[in-house]
Symmetry: C2
C-alpha cells in the first residue's frame, strides 16, 4: 500500500471533525432545542410523503457532499421532524426534554460502546447495576437482578421466557414441543406486546388467555381465577400472569395485591408491565396505585416514558437471586466472555441477554437522577397528576367536552362534541358521527402544526382523545390551550 494517509478529508482530521460537530451542535441548539421546545413554533411541519421525499432528497449516491451541504441537510431533517419535546406534543406516552438526560445520551453516543463486558464498558457496567438497584428498591426489593432491554415489549418477552424457563428448564434445549400446552393470562386492556411476544416466543397467541377488565380498565381478579380454571380444564398449564400498571389508553392500574394472591395460590409467575406506570413509584402520594408490586417476580418499567429519560430506557427488574437471567439466556461464547480474564468476569452482563451488542441505556437516567434528585423526579410525577386533575375539572366545566371516565393517572380521555352534535346523544347515528370528529380535528391540528394529541376507539366507545400529561414543562396554560384549540379547530363541525 503506497499511501498510509487516512482517506477522506475528515477521517483522522481532528480539526475538521471538531469544526463540523460544533456547527452541528449550534444547529441542534437553535432548531431542535430552542425552536423545538418553544410554544411560539409549530410542533410539526406537515408534508405529504411525496413532497417530503423531494424536500429531503434522500437518495444515497456515489459522490460525497460538502460540509455546507451536510449542515443544510441537518437543518432540513430537524425542520420536518415532529418536535416531541414541544409543549404541545401530547401524542404519545413520552414528551418533553430533560437537558441532563440529553447530555447523558450525547455522551453515550460519543463513547459508542457496548454494555456487555466490564472490559469495554467499566463505568456503565457498574452504573447499570446501581441504577437497577435503585429501581428495585422503589419496587420494594433489597436484592434481585435485572437488565436494560431495547424497549418494554422486549422486557415483557424476557419475563415470559424467564417464567417458562424457570418452570421447564428443559425448554431452552429441547424447545416447546417437549412441554405441555402453556397458558398465560393478561387483561383485555394489556399492551399488545404480550400477544406479539407469545407469537415470537413460539407459544402462539392462543396461549394468551384474556381476562376481563372492569369499567375503569382494571383486571378483575375473579375473572382471572375463572380463566385459570378454564385453561386447566382445557388441559393447559398456567405459568404466568402479566398485570399492567398504567394501561396504554385509560391509564388503569390492575389490583396487584389481589392478583398476587391468585398467583400465589396457583404457583404462577407474576409479571407487572409497569412500562408506563412504574415511575409513579417515585411519588409518596401516588405510589399506592402499585401496592403489591413487591410481590411480583418481574417488573418492566420504562423511564423513557414518564421520566423523560429519552428513547430507549427500559428496565426489566427481577426478584430472582439465582442467576436466572444468565442461566436462561447464556451461551458461554468463549470468544467474548473468556473465563481467563484478569478481572471478575461475573461483572460481564453479556450472557444475561439474548442480544450480543447492547446499547448503554443507564447513563441518561443516572445523570438526570443525579441532577434532579429523587425529590425532583417525585415533584415532576406529582405535578403531572395535579395538572391532569386540573384538566379534568376544566373539561367538566366546558360545554362540548365529555370525559370518558374519571382518570386515576395522567391519561385523560375525553370526547370533543362539536356544536352540531351537542344534545343529539339520543340520535341513532350519534356515535358514528362522533367517531369522525377526532380524525378530522387531528388532520387539522397536524396540518396547522398547532398541537398533536392522539385518539382511538376503545371497545364500543367511538374515537376519543387521549391526553397524556407527561412533559415536565407543562403548565395550566397548556391545559387551557388544549381545550381552546380543540374548540377552535372544531367550531364548524
Amino acid at each position: 500500500m503506497a499511501d498510509s494517509e487516512p482517506l477522506s478529508s475528515l477521517d483522522g482530521d481532528p480539526m475538521a471533525t471538531e469544526a463540523l460537530l460544533w456547527d452541528v451542535f449550534g444547529i441542534i441548539v437553535d432548531e431542535a432545542i430552542q425552536k423545538g421546545t418553544s410554544a411560539c413554533e409549530k410542533v410539526c411541519e406537515w408534508k405529504e410523503p411525496e413532497e417530503l421525499k423531494e424536500l429531503l432528497d434522500l437518495e444515497l449516491r456515489s459522490q460525497g457532499e460538502s460540509k455546507e451541504q451536510i449542515l443544510e441537510r441537518c437543518r432540513t431533517v430537524i425542520r420536518y421532524s415532529v418536535k416531541t419535546c414541544h409543549p404541545r406534543f401530547f401524542n404519545q406516552l413520552f414528551s418533553g426534554l430533560d437537558p441532563h438526560s440529553l447530555a447523558g445520551r450525547i455522551i453515550t453516543e460519543s463513547l459508542n460502546t457496548s454494555q456487555y463486558t466490564y472490559e469495554i464498558a467499566p463505568v456503565f457496567i457498574l452504573m447499570e447495576e446501581e441504577v437497577l438497584k435503585k429501581l428495585r428498591a422503589l419496587v420494594g426489593w433489597s436484592f434481585g437482578d435485572g437488565v436494560f432491554c431495547p424497549g418494554g415489549s422486549i422486557s415483557n418477552m424476557y419475563a415470559m421466557n424467564l417464567a417458562r424457563y424457570q418452570r421447564y428448564p428443559d425448554c431452552k434445549q429441547r424447545g416447546l414441543r417437549s412441554l405441555p400446552l402453556l397458558a398465560l393470562f393478561t387483561s383485555e386492556e394489556c399492551h399488545y406486546s404480550i400477544k406479539k411476544g407469545a407469537a415470537f416466543l413460539g407459544l402462539g397467541t392462543d396461549s394468551v388467555r384474556v381476562v376481563k377488565a372492569d369499567e375503569r380498565g382494571k383486571m378483575i381478579p375473579e375473572d382471572l381465577e375463572r380463566q385459570i380454571s378454564l385453561a386447566e380444564a382445557e388441559g393447559a398449564v398456567p405459568f404466568l400472569v402479566s398485570a399492567t400498571s398504567g394501561t396504554t389508553v385509560l391509564g388503569a392500574f390492575d389490583p396487584l395485591e389481589a392478583i398476587a394472591d391468585v398467583c400465589q395460590r396457583h404457583g404462577l409467575w407474576l409479571h407487572v408491565d409497569a412500562a408506563w406506570g412504574g415511575s409513579v413509584l417515585l411519588s409518596q402520594t401516588h405510589r399506592h396505585l402499585l401496592d403489591g408490586i413487591q410481590r411480583a417476580n418481574s417488573v418492566a418499567w420504562n423511564p423513557h416514558k414518564f421520566l423523560t429519560a429519552g428513547l430507549q430506557c427500559s428496565a426489566l427488574l427481577l426478584q430472582d437471586t439465582s442467576n436466572l437471567l444468565k442461566r436462561c439466556h447464556g451461551s458461554q461464547a468463549s470468544y467474548l466472555f473468556q473465563q481467563d480474564k484478569f478481572y471478575d468476569v461475573a461483572l460481564d452482563t453479556g450472557d444475561k441477554v439474548v442480544q450480543c451488542g447492547r446499547r448503554v441505556d443507564c447513563l441518561k437516567l443516572w445523570l438526570m437522577w443525579k441532577a434532579q434528585g429523587g425529590q425532583g423526579l417525585e415533584q415532576r410525577v406529582d405535578q403531572a397528576f395535579a395538572l391532569a386533575r386540573y384538566l379534568v375539572e376544566e373539561i367538566k366545566k366546558r360545554e362540548g367536552f365529555e370525559l370518558v371516565m374519571e382518570p386515576e393517572f395522567v391519561n385523560v380521555c375525553f370526547w370533543f362534541v362539536p356544536p352540531s352534535l351537542r344534545g343529539k346523544q339520543e340520535s341513532p347515528d350519534y356515535s358514528e358521527k362522533l367517531a369522525k370528529v377526532a380524525p378530522v380535528l387531528k388532520e387539522r391540528m397536524v396540518k396547522e402544526g398547532s398541537m398533536m394529541i392522539g385518539y382511538q376507539p376503545h371497545g364500543a366507545r367511538a374515537n376519543f382523545f387521549r391526553m397524556v400529561v407527561v412533559n415536565p414543562m407543562l403548565t395550566q396554560a397548556d391545559m387551557d390551550f388544549l381545550l381552546d384549540e380543540l374548540e377552535r379547530l372544531g367550531q364548524d363541525l
Copy 2:
C-alpha cells in the same frame, strides 16, 4: 394547583438548558473526541471495580446536584470509559469515530422520536425506507422489504421467526406445539445468537444442527447436505439455513452459491448473517466474497461494525414482497395504528416489528453516506483490507509472531510467541504455556492503557490474538505499533 410554574430550575428554562448543553458539548469535544481519538492519550484508564465505584460515586440520592457537580460527573464518566474510537482500540468488531455519523446520532437523540408511525417520524419513515432500499440494491435486489433491528442477534431471530411463519402461518396463533419438530442449520463457526435465538423462539437449541466448517472456517456444503438428511431421518423438518458472511473470530465467508443450491434443492429459507461482512458489498474489489447473497431470503447486516455508523445500526433485509413482516409480526393495535388516519397508513412500520417503540437508526448511516458517498465508504473498506494485508506480511517477517491462517477478511488472527517459548513447539506443554500468554499481555496493555486487542481460544487452538482492522483512521504505523507493543509487553515472558 396554586403554582403553574415549572418545578425545577432547568425544566422550561431554555437559557439554562442551552448553557448546560454547550458546556457538555465542550467536555465531549475535549475529552471524548480530542483526547479520545489521540494516540498520545490512553485508550483506557483501568481501575478495579471497587475503586471505580468510589471514583464514580454512583449512588442515586434524594437531593439533586449543582451544574458544576454534574459537569464534573460528565468528565469523570468519560475519563474512566474505554475509548472505542481510539486508534489503539482493536478489541471489537467496531472502532473509530465517523463525525457525520456522530452528528446524526446527536440529532437523533435531540429529536427523540420513535420509528413506528409517519405521524411522529415522517422524515425517518421515508429515510429508513431509502436506506434499506440502498442496502438491498447492494445485495442485488431491486425490491423487497426490511427493517432496522436492535442488534444483529435480533435480526437473526427475526429471520428465524419469518422463515417458520412462512412455512407454518398457523404457528403465530397456535404455537410450536402444533408444528412438527423443526431443524435449522448453521456452521460451527456461526455467531452464538443463532442458538440463543432458537432457545428464545421456543425451538430449543437442539433444533440447531451444526454443520462442519473447513480449516478456514467456511461451512462445508456437503456436510450441510448430510446434516439435512440426518435431521430428516430423525423425523425433523428442515426449514432454514443460516450462513455467515464474516465469522466473528476468523472472518470467514461461507460459500453462498453452493449453500443456496442446497437450500433450493430442499426448499429451505436461506438467511445470511452478514452482520460483520455485509459492508464488503460496497467494495467492487472484494464483494466477490459474498457471491450468491442475492439468492438469500434474508440478510442481517450491521453497518455499526465495519462502516462505523455507531451502535446500533442493524439492518434486516428481505427479498419478500408479500408483506411477510407485517403478517408475521402485526397485531393491528387500534390505539396506535388507527386505520382512519388522514395519510396512507401503509407507511407506518410499527406492525413490522415485535417491539413497540423503536429507535431511529437510519439517520446516522444516511448522513454519513451523504457525506462520504458510496465511493468514500468503498475506499474505507478497501483500505481496511489493504492494511490487514500489510499486517499479515509484517507478521510473517517478524520473529515471535505466527499467523493462525491467511485471512480473507480484516480479522488477522495470530499468536505472539514470547522468547521463552520460541523453538519449543514440540514441547508437550507448549500449547498450555502459549495459552497463558495472551491473557497476561492483555492485562498488561489494559493496565498501561496502551492498546486493547481481543484474544480467544478456538477449537483445539490455544488463545490467540484477533486483530480487527476497521477504524478508518488507522495507518501502517498503527499496524507496526501493534506488533512493537506486543513485543515490548511480552519481552520478559
